[in-house]
């Protein structure tokens, strides 16, 4: 019986053992095996022949040169055979041997031979990089495409405007065709449009398309013969009052298309620097011609509120008349806009504390107003008893009658479809009809 003390690797004779000695101190398993072999009087060659292990491997084990052995599994097998052959405690020796030869991996790293990839197809990385590049290029192109684009309204223009709109669609083209004079001419036209409206909203024409047609022709004729700018201006001014009401857009459109016809040279003389400067703000602040109550569609001035360039303004205006919006015009006050300013005698005023979508209809389902009232915006409701309001955020609206606020019609975010804008009902808080 042989015991092995791990730390000092001291062999303790247990009595009856045929191999081990008393108090043998060995450096490593190999040395211990050698001593055990020597006590039995066997030679290395004898062991090698008996175990069929190469002599050099037996030597390697005894000398502790474990790296010379063919592999951990085999080395362990050899040591086990050797220990077994000498009649020693196999398991203890094996455990010791494994800790000693820890540097030799017990599990060899298995790496299968892989055939080298031969193929025309690029590797995944290259494909990924190409895909990224393609996306980047497309994004850049897309950005450049959209950079200078005017946001032409998606709403189709009325039939009468098609050619005009087409000609203004690309402002760049217009300015090129009209040479240096173009902006001025346009500006003058805008002035012409704005001025009459500001001064005299007057005449009310229910037949919009007809008027449009007239207006469309007139300016074209006007600048045609009259290359002299002095004539152009009065003509335009004259033309403007004629179409009267809401014809802001047609005038501008016509004016814009006009410069293409006359010789740009004389137009250059027109240049009145103050004119565009003065006139630009006008369409912004001043309300345009109010419509008759039946509310035929008219240009929305809100869009014109921030005209970047004269031509752009023209484009936007040209595109807008087709929006079937309430004739409401807006006055920009300190904190919000006021719509429906024509309704001077309004008793009911809808104010927005929070953004709320509001639509006001009359009995015939004609839309008087449909828009998002921003916080601070107000709408002066025409003094009629048949109006019905729809709103997407009832809690955001403050309705007042004759200046006195009435009870709220609903909570925040409440969607109401049938709010009677009747003075009495509103006062009584019974305006909401389910």
């Amino acid at each position: 019986m042989v015991g092995v003390d791990r730390q000092s690797f001291r062999v303790i004779e247990g009595g009856g053992g045929s191999v081990a000695q008393d108090e043998t101190v060995a450096e490593h398993v190999g040395a211990f095996l050698r001593e055990a072999r020597q006590t039995t009087g066997r030679s290395v060659a004898e062991v090698a022949t008996s175990l069929r292990i190469r002599t050099k491997f037996v030597q390697s084990i005894e000398d502790g040169r474990y790296e010379d052995l063919p592999g951990q599994t085999y080395a362990v097998g050899f040591v086990r055979s050797y220990a077994d052959y000498l009649g020693l405690d196999t398991e203890a020796l094996i455990t010791q041997f494994k800790t000693e030869s820890r540097n030799a991996e017990s599990h060899p790293d298995l790496a299968f031979p892989v055939p080298t990839t031969v193929g025309w197809f690029p590797t995944g990385k290259i494909v990924a990089i190409c895909a990224l590049l393609a996306v980047a290029v497309f994004a850049g192109w897309f950005f450049l495409q959209n950079e200078g684009a005017v946001d032409v309204a998606a709403v189709p223009a009325p039939p009468g405007f098609k050619p005009a709109v087409a000609s203004v669609e690309k402002p760049a083209n217009v300015s090129v065709a009209a040479a240096p004079a173009a902006p001025q001419v346009t500006a003058v036209a805008s002035a012409a449009t704005a001025q009459p409206e500001a001064t005299e909203p007057a005449g009310q024409s229910p037949e919009t398309p007809a008027v449009t047609a007239e207006v469309g022709e007139q300016p074209v004729q006007a600048p045609g013969p009259a290359a002299d700018p002095q004539i152009t201006e009065p003509m335009a001014t004259e033309a403007a009052p004629e179409p009267v009401t809401e014809a802001a857009a047609p005038v501008v459109v016509a004016a814009v298309s006009a410069p293409a016809i006359p010789d740009p040279a004389p137009a250059g003389e027109v240049s009145e620097p103050p004119a565009p400067v003065e006139t630009q703000p006008e369409p912004v602040t001043v309300a345009e011609a109010p419509p008759p109550p039946p509310a035929p569609p008219v240009a929305a001035p809100v869009v014109a509120a921030d005209p970047p360039v004269a031509t752009t303004t023209a484009t936007q205006i040209a595109a807008l008349p087709s929006i079937p919006e309430e004739s409401s015009t807006a006055i920009v006050s300190g904190e919000g806009r006021t719509y429906g300013v024509i309704n001077q005698e309004a008793r009911v005023i809808i104010g927005a504390e929070a953004d709320s979508w509001v639509q006001v209809l009359d009995e015939q389902q004609n839309v008087l107003l449909t828009r998002m009232l921003r916080a601070g915006d107000r709408y002066l409701v025409p003094d009629r008893r048949d109006l019905v309001m729809l709103t997407g955020n009832a809690g955001g609206l403050v309705i007042s009658v004759d200046g006195d606020p009435v009870p709220k019609i609903g909570s925040d975010g409440a969607i109401l479809h049938n709010v009677r804008l009747d003075v009495d009902l509103l006062k009584a808080g019974r305006a909401v009809i389910q």
């Binding site: 175990l51 069929r52 292990i53 190469r54 491997f57 063919p70 592999g71 951990q72 599994t73 085999y74 362990v76 097998g77 050899f78 086990r80 055979s81 094996i94 017990s106 599990h107 060899p108 298995l110 790496a111 299968f112 031979p113």
Partner: protein
Amino acid sequence: MLSRIMGALSADMAIDLGTANTLVYVKGRDIVLNEPSVVAIAESKGKKRVLAVGNEAKQMLGRTPGNIQAIRPLRDGVIADFEVAEEMIKEFIRKVHNRRGFHSPQIVVCVPSGSTAVERRAIQESAESAGARRVWLIEEPMAAAIGAGLPVTEPTGSMVVDIGGGTTEVAVLSLGGIVYSRSVRVGGDMMDEAIIGYIRRNHNLLVGESSAERIKKEIGSACPPEDGDGRTIEIKGRDLMNGVPKELVISERQIAESLAEPISAIIDAVKVALEHTAPELAADIVDKGIVLTGGGALLGNLDYVLRHATGLPVSIADDPLTCVVRGTGRALDEFKRLKGVLVSMY
């Protein structure tokens, strides 16, 4: 991609579906099950239901009443009873895979290298119908060599002899593949039968399989002791002459004599394999020798007998019983790297 996510939720497992024992290795949890491949089936009202599997069923082996059958569904390393094998795999998976609600596991099962396509398909289908998401097969000698830690992927020959319950696999491996393999249907079972036959012939005593296995484990030896009769053991069985239970003492020498036939079959298989080995590989094997794995490697003096029969160094692998399942488990752990050794019948 999805299967990789689901793989994290399920416990992938490696199964050594052996004739004698089934071992299950669960990825990340080591060997979690090591039980005999025995199923006890109870029949009631014409319906067969699994009564027990594994150790519990093994105790019933040879001791069952009429309505219970204790079956070993594998014979000679392959499935002999398809339905029962399927039930057994299912039960073992259930025992191991306790996260039942999750995704079904991926399973690697080892098959004898000499098994036919039909036998492989049977094993794969059993595992699949037992609830596996994907089944891979690995050849037993390859799994044994990986489990024993042999450098199978290097350009050097390694020879492994895996003596299982039903088959003995002899293989020479190099560069991650099997260069030569030979599977003989001799294994632990055959040794048990040899012991039963020997005792019946010489002592007119009939012993059961379990008793024979116990004798083999306790005093079994591949060669008779140098002098005397060696260790002895008491065995109990039924006397064939007068039909009464009887007890007698049998010696190591007698058992070694009875095992001579299966042992020589194994030696022959190894010799044939060596004959078929390419000279370069044979040169490697002369240096490094043969590694024994499988339960049969534990038979006393088998390494000695093989060493003298072949003239090569013979080593017994560490923990030879679990070599195959450890190798299979390693193939599962290093799935991407070792995918080359896995096969699927579909």
